[in-house]
């Protein structure tokens, strides 16, 4: 909770600070302070919130990513929004009861609506509206599920009950489906593909990279006992959803022409991989696998979108042709982009590979060998479109260079994110606590 208190205060202060440099300094100092408090395990005990060692690790990673993000930002409003999102993320990550989970989940949703409503043209408005409608629907479903769970005779102020009737199980499943809207699980994904590609890439990065992983980790923390209790039913539903999600996401990504669109679909596919950890919760590696891929994903997805935001000058809408010749004109940016894309594709020595490896092993460990094969083949298939982006960067000659020059501070922020990807790709003992 100490991180929450620090960041909440800084977020409130940030409204009054107009000098961007001062604001950046204050927020980065605050985040560094939060890292120190988190690693010292100095926590304020509070009912409904609970801190575990894996959540501490994830929070530290989250703070590092946010530091890198804020470093490269140049609008104070975006910094304020990011800080608020981080604050709500801490609440969500640490919550241990249904009530705190639902409330902090809604807090994140509301902040993300505010983020996307900062729109400048019709395209971004379209993306924002799609997201808002889908988000409201998901909220409605979540509230309905929570109500059913309450009617079943359980307290919202406690961790999820282990004695559920079918009615209660239905309620929890409704709640989960509502959460899956945010996680872009097929068939609740349609808003995400459009929305992520239409809003400003920076926000797409924060929402798909940061918010989504935070929700995944928190959901796993709250609901894994429930899935373990109803394993037969839950694992069947979850496996089906996971297989459909990753396969569809990958195939749609193969057919996309815009970089942001490809990454949105790849984000959907990644949600599918992450769902596998929920389905194989029986295995002792499932929690580690999910934490690993979440940490890997938060680095690589945020980095890629952040760089796209800078390269396209905040406009987004980067087509593959725009990237042609980037390998010759901007060697560092293309190196960062390439390594992060390889990590997303699951190429070894990068965090993305190890995340997927531990995750898929947990699936094998839980006994779903054929599902593991499908996941691995999907991951191999995804190389098709990542390598295709890299092909445009390096193998094609420069045609029209529409891309903007990138400043040094962006390189620094990208270097931080790259170090994270490399560090967790090699030093995996950090994750196995």
């Amino acid at each position: 909770m100490s991180g929450f208190i620090i960041l909440f205060i800084i977020s409130l202060i940030s409204f009054t600070v107009h000098n961007i440099k001062v604001l950046k300094t204050i927020s980065i100092l605050g985040l560094l302070g939060s890292i120190i408090f988190s690693t010292l395990n100095y926590s304020v005990p509070l009912v409904g919130f609970e801190l575990t060692s894996s959540i501490i690790l994830f929070e530290v990673v989250l703070f590092i990513v946010i530091i890198a993000t804020i470093l490269s930002l140049d609008e104070s409003i975006a910094i304020t929004q990011t800080l608020f999102l981080t604050t709500a993320s801490i609440l969500l990550l640490e919550s241990s009861t249904i009530l705190t989970f639902v409330l902090s989940f809604e807090a994140i949703s509301i902040i993300s609506f505010v983020m996307v409503s900062f729109m400048r043209n019709k395209k971004e408005a379209m993306g924002a509206i799609k997201m808002f409608i889908a988000g409201s629907l998901s909220t409605a479903i979540i509230v309905l599920g929570t109500a059913l769970y309450l009617i079943d005779g359980h307290s919202l102020l406690e961790p999820i009950s282990s004695t559920l009737t079918n009615f209660g199980i239905f309620g929890i499943w409704l709640l989960l489906l509502g959460v899956f809207y945010k996680l872009t699980i097929v068939p609740m994904h349609t808003w995400a593909a459009d929305s992520y590609a239409q809003i400003r890439p920076y926000y797409a990065g924060i929402l798909s990279g940061v918010a989504k992983t935070v929700v995944v980790v928190a959901t796993f923390k709250i609901f894994s006992p429930f899935i373990l209790n109803t394993f037969e039913l839950s694992s069947f539903i979850l496996l089906t959803l996971a297989i459909i999600t990753m396969t569809l996401g990958n195939f749609l990504a193969l057919y996309s022409k815009k970089v942001e669109k490809i990454l949105s679909y790849s984000s959907i596919a990644h949600a599918g991989y992450m769902l596998l950890a929920f389905a194989s919760v029986k295995s002792q590696y499932a929690a580690t696998g999910l934490l690993y891929i979440a940490i890997a994903y938060i680095f690589m997805q945020t980095a890629v979108f952040l760089l796209l935001d800078k390269l396209s000058n905040g406009k987004g809408d980067t087509s593959l042709e725009d990237l042609q010749g980037l390998g010759k004109t901007d060697k560092l940016s293309s190196l960062f982009l390439t390594i992060q894309l390889f990590s997303l594709a699951g190429i070894p020595l990068l965090a993305g590979f190890m995340g997927k490896a531990v995750l898929v092993y947990s699936v094998v460990d839980a006994g779903f060998t054929y599902v593991a094969l499908i996941a691995l083949l999907n991951s191999a298939l995804s190389v098709g479109y990542y390598a295709w982006i890299i092909k445009h960067i390096y193998f094609s000659d420069t045609k029209t260079n529409k891309l903007a020059k990138v400043t040094n501070i962006v390189y620094i922020s990208q270097a931080i994110l790259l170090l994270g990807t490399l560090y967790f790709g090699i030093f995996s003992f950090t994750i196995f606590l």
Partner: protein
């Protein structure tokens, strides 16, 4: 610790080397120096090896919960592969001496050397897989940036095809871990496996793509043709050998009983590869594609020798692997050189090159004779030992593999007739065939090795026999 640096320093420093030297031309000297150092280190390593079993070089980055430890261990087989790899890397560097735009190229080669050393040194399955996949990255860029006209298609196809195959290997490794509780190669015993058949097939299919065996070879002609000639050497001499090495270590030695059961699959695919690729080479008029198919055909022979699961067979297969690396390389290099000079891949545009470039033609003819297995070349020793060992294991009917040699004679001699001899074509008449001295020197080394070990194979066989002699004591193989 020094072996750890040997692997990771090239991988992480290659990017800096590129950025630091991109405006100069010292990258190739750096690469050459580094590869000579690698050769030196591997020979040193060979001298301190115990007579049998593994030598532990160190354990790093321990994750006991996941049995995920970078265990670096070498035995004779892996050190032989290390020496072969370093020699080929040196020769590849020499062969690319006149390369333009070279900083990135040599930086990628340096990167590749780290990954490939990791493949041959690590005995932890997951780390082996990591290095195995890591070799794809430099290859993807080397083919995609420096290749010929259709390089992008070839690079993406190569990457995707082999990456998909690797997924089968990864799944097999996961199953091994689940059933034995360890990723450590030396700790896994076949008897405790629950589903040995499934694992065997997954591993076999995964490695068969890299070897490559029919019908999983289709990525290779594209990659070979589009890659720059020195990279074709690397593909044929190192990457294919990596597949064969893995087939020996992770299929035959890890699971001898299952291999015994399915040896016929290896034999059948080997024979089909040998004959099918031979016929394809006969049909081909594209010079480099002809060499590529000849390469597949030879790997078929290697597979046949492996399928005997005997001491002689494995020795013969390793000899053929080394011989093939040295014989096929000058053919690729000269095919690439001729393309570079005449701007044509097709034999119809060539002819009469002997009159204009006698030395290069002589080397081409000699390497060609090696490929068809003429006595006094390494090719002959390899083929005769394979023939003898497989006849010993399967009976006389296996003698049909000499058909492979007959086909090889046909396509090699016919190619020579069309490319080297015959009447001089117009294209050749107006082309200047001067070759860079360093590159010519590299070709001479290849020729010398083919001839030397063709006449006097004993020292090489001593080394090779020790590789399998030490494995024999581990049990499992007849």
């Amino acid at each position: 610790m020094s072996s750890l640096i040997l692997i990771f320093a090239p991988i992480f420093l290659s990017g800096f080397i590129y950025l630091a030297t991109k405006k100069t031309d010292i990258t190739k000297y750096l690469a050459l120096g580094f590869f000579i150092f690698l050769l030196f280190k591997s020979v040193l390593l060979y001298n301190v090896l115990p007579t049998s079993g593994y030598m532990l070089l160190g354990e790093f980055l321990k994750v006991p919960q996941f049995s995920f430890t970078l265990t670096l261990q070498v035995d004779h087989l892996s050190v032989i592969m290390l020496i072969l790899t370093s020699i080929l890397l040196i020769l590849v560097t020499l062969s690319s001496w006149s390369m333009k735009n070279q900083a990135g190229y040599f930086a990628l080669l340096i990167f590749f050397s780290g990954a490939i050393f990791g493949v041959f040194m690590s005995t932890n399955l997951l780390w082996f897989f990591i290095f195995w996949e890591l070799t794809l990255i430099p290859m993807y860029f080397l083919i995609g940036i420096y290749g010929a006209e259709k390089r992008v298609f070839a690079a993406v196809k190569f990457f995707l095809y082999t990456h998909v195959a690797s997924m089968l290997i990864l799944l097999a490794f996961f199953l091994l871990f689940k059933q034995t509780g360890t990723f450590e190669l030396t700790m896994i015993k076949e008897v405790v496996l629950v589903t040995p058949t499934l694992i065997w097939w997954l591993l076999f299919l995964g490695f068969a793509v890299k070897m490559p065996l029919f019908p999983f070879h289709t990525w290779l002609p594209d990659a070979h043709v589009q890659a720059p000639a020195p990279i074709s050497v690397l593909l044929a001499g190192v990457l294919l050998k990596m597949g064969a090495y893995a087939m020996i270590r992770f299929v035959i030695f890890l699971m001898p009983e299952e291999s015994q059961k399915y040896a016929f699959v290896l034999l059948a695919l080997g024979i089909i590869s040998l004959l099918y690729a031979g016929f394809m080479a006969l049909y081909e008029t594209h010079l480099k594609k002809m060499v590529a198919y000849s390469s597949i055909s030879h790997m078929g022979l290697v597979a046949i020798a492996m399928s005997t699961l005997s001491y002689e067979g494995l020795s013969a297969s390793l000899f053929e692997m080394i011989g093939h690396a040295f014989i096929i390389s000058p053919l690729f290099l000269i095919a690439g050189f001729l393309h570079h000079k005449t701007s044509s891949w097709y034999m119809k545009d060539m002819g009469g090159i002997m009159q204009k470039a006698p030395y290069i033609s002589a080397i081409f003819v000699f390497a060609g004779l090696g490929a068809l297995g003429l006595p006094s070349t390494m090719g002959f020793i390899g083929e005769i030992t394979i023939l003898l060992s497989s006849m010993k294991a399967y009976g006389v009917w296996v003698g049909i593999i000499v058909l492979g040699s007959i086909i090889a004679s046909s396509y090699i001699i016919w190619t020579m007739r069309r490319v080297i001899y015959g009447s001089m074509s117009e294209v050749v008449a107006k082309t200047d065939f001067t070759i860079n001295r360093v590159e010519f020197f590299a070709l001479c080394i290849f020729t010398f090795v083919i001839l030397f070990f063709g006449l006097y194979p004993a020292p090489l066989f001593d080394v090779i026999n020790q590789a399998f002699g030490s494995m024999q004591s581990l049990g499992g193989v007849k």
